[in-house]
C-alpha cells in the first residue's frame, strides 16, 4: 500500500516513542447527579499495551472507561472531579475540545452498532467528518485489513453494515474506529454480545492491534482479561456502591499472585 498509509504509521511511531504512559488519572471521581459512581482513582495506562478493567457488575467500569474520551458528558447530570491526563494534558481542561479528544481516543461499544449505511460508508464516515484528504479507498481497505475483516467483505463493500453477522459487525466497528487513526481505543465489553468463535476472533484482533495502539478493555469475563491483557485493574464497590480501584498490576501477577484478599476472592469466583 502506498505512501498515505506509510505516513500514518511513521506519525504514530513519532508520537508513541516520546511517552511510556499515554493516559493517567489523578484523584478521579465521577458523579451522576449526587451519586458518586467512581471514587478517587489513580492509575496510569501504558503505551501500546492492553489494559483490562475487571470487577463486579455496577462497580463503574464502563463509567470509568467513558471518562477517558469524555463520552460521559453525553449523559445528563454527569460530572467529574480530578484529572484525566492524556500525554500529560488534562482532558477536562476548559479549552479542550471533546470532539478532538474522541478523534484521538476512539471507542468500541458493547453491542455492535454499525451505521445503517454501506460497509464502505461506515468506515468513511469518521474520516470525512475529520476532513480526511487522502485516498478513501485505500483508507477503507487499510482499516478493514487491520480489523481482519477485509477478506470477508472486499466484494460486498456496498452492502449494508447491518447485513453482516454480529462478530463481523463488531470488527466493522473496530475498523471504523481505526479509520480515524486514534492512539487509544477504548473497548466496552466488545465481545459480550458475541458467540465464542467471534469472541476469539476479537481477542486475537485485540492482541494484534496492541502492537500499534493502546487499548483499554472493560470485560466481565476474567478468562478474557487473562488472555488478552498485559495489565489488569480490579475494581470493587465500597459501602456507598461507589467503584474504587482495588488492585492494579500486570495481568500475570494479578491472576497468579494477587496481593489483595478481595482480588483473590473475585478471580477465584467467590463473589461477583
Amino acid at each position: 500500500m502506498t505512501h498515505t498509509i506509510e505516513k500514518i504509521k511513521t506519525q504514530r511511531i513519532k508520537v508513541s516513542e516520546k511517552l511510556v504512559y499515554v493516559l493517567e488519572t489523578k484523584k478521579l471521581n465521577i458523579y451522576y447527579d449526587d451519586f458518586r459512581a467512581i471514587s478517587e482513582v489513580n492509575m496510569k495506562i501504558e503505551r501500546n499495551k492492553v489494559t483490562a478493567i475487571i470487577g463486579p457488575s455496577g462497580c463503574g467500569k464502563s463509567t470509568l472507561l467513558r471518562s477517558f474520551n469524555r463520552m460521559n458528558e453525553l449523559v445528563q447530570g454527569s460530572r467529574i472531579s480530578g484529572e484525566v491526563l492524556f500525554h500529560g494534558q488534562n482532558l477536562y481542561a476548559p479549552d479542550v475540545d471533546p470532539v478532538e479528544v474522541r478523534h484521538r481516543i476512539g471507542m468500541v461499544f458493547q453491542k455492535p452498532n454499525p451505521f445503517p449505511k454501506s460497509i464502505y460508508e461506515n468506515i468513511a464516515w469518521g474520516a470525512r467528518v475529520h476532513g480526511f484528504k487522502g485516498n478513501m479507498d485505500e483508507l477503507v481497505e487499510y482499516s478493514l485489513r487491520q480489523a481482519a475483516l477485509w477478506e470477508e467483505v472486499k466484494d460486498i463493500l456496498d452492502h449494508s453494515g447491518l447485513a453482516l453477522s454480529g462478530g463481523q459487525q463488531q470488527r466493522l466497528c473496530i475498523a471504523r474506529a481505526l479509520a480515524v487513526q486514534p492512539e487509544v481505543i477504548l473497548m466496552d465489553e466488545p465481545a459480550s454480545a458475541l458467540d465464542p468463535i467471534s469472541t476469539l476472533h476479537i481477542e486475537d484482533l485485540i492482541r494484534e492491534l496492541s502492537n500499534h495502539y493502546t487499548i483499554l478493555i472493560v470485560t466481565h469475563n476474567m478468562q478474557q482479561a487473562a488472555r488478552v491483557s498485559d495489565f489488569t485493574a480490579f475494581f470493587n464497590m465500597n459501602g456507598d456502591r461507589s467503584g474504587y480501584l482495588v488492585e492494579y498490576d500486570n495481568t500475570n501477577q494479578l491472576f497468579t499472585m494477587p496481593k489483595n484478599k478481595l482480588t483473590e476472592d473475585y478471580i477465584t469466583g467467590r463473589f461477583g
Binding site: 463520552m71 445528563q76 478523534h103 471507542m107 445503517p116 449505511k117 464516515w125 469518521g126 447491518l162 466497528c173
Partner: protein, 311 residues
Amino acid sequence: MEQIALGYPKSRNGLKRRFRVGENAILALLFISGVFSIFTTIGIVYELGKEALLFFRTPNVDLWSFLSGTQWQPHIDKFGILPLFTSTLITSLFAMLIAAPLGMGAAIYLSEYASEKVRGFLKPILEILAGIPTIVYGYFALTFMTPLLRTIFGRDVVEIYNTASAGLVMGILILPMIASMAEDALSAVPNALREAAYGLGGTKLEVALKVVVPAAISGIAAAFIVGISRAIGETMIVAVAAGAGPNFTFNPFKGAETMTGHIVRISGGDLSYDSIDYNSIFAIGLMLFFVTLTLNLISQQVVRRFREVYE
C-alpha cells in the same frame, strides 16, 4: 408429596383447548374497528365516483377538457380544473416552503439539542399551535399576513385576497404537525448510533445531520407527505383568505380559488341536487383524492429507495 392449595382454581384434566369468551369478544371488536374504517373509505370513494360519473356523463363535459381547460365557468359550461388546481398547487407550495424547513429545524432542535426541560416546555406549545381552529388561521391570514405582504410588496402588487398569504399561514398551521412527526422519527433512532458517531469524534451537528436524520428519513418523508396532503386538503384558510373566484394565474399575489375553496363555496350556496354545478364538485373531490393518493404512492417509492434500516 401432598399438594398445597394456593388459591388456584382446581386444575382441569387434560390439555384440551378451552373456549375463552373475553379473548374472542376482543378479537371480534378489534376486527370490526378495522373493517369499519375500510368500509368508510370504500363508501367515500363510491359516493365520490358515483356523483362524478354523473358529471362526466353530461353532454357538454368530457374528461380531457376537464383536465386541461383553463376556465372554470359553470354558467357557460366551462369546466376546466386547471385554475383551481394551480391555486391549490401555489398555496401548498407556499405552505411547504414555510413548514418543511422550519418543521425540520424544530424537530432537530427538539430531538437532538434541547434539554429535557426545554423540550417539556416547547412540545406542548407546539401542540397547542396545532389545536387552533383553522378558521382562526384564516382570519389571521386575512387581517395580519395580507396587510404585512401589502406593506412589504406594495398595495398595488398584492391583492386583498391572494394565495401567497393563505399559503404562508397554512405553512404555520402544518408546521407543528411536521415538527412533531419528524421529531418522533428522530427520537426513535437508537442512541447506540449517536454514541457511535460521537465516539468517532463527530460534532453535534454532524451526528444530527449525517447519522440521525438519514436513519430517520422514512419517518421524515412520511411527515412531509402528511403535511402536503393536509395543505392540499386544507379548506377554511383558503376559503377566507385566498379569494372567491376561479382565476388561472401563477401570480401568488392575486386572488384565486383553490379546489377546496371552490367546493366549500359552491356547496355552501343553495344548489339543487341534480344540477351540473352540484355534480361538478364531486369531480373536484375525486381529483383531490387522486392527488393525495398519487403523493402517497410516490412517497412510498421514495422512502423505499432511501430508507436506512437500523435494526
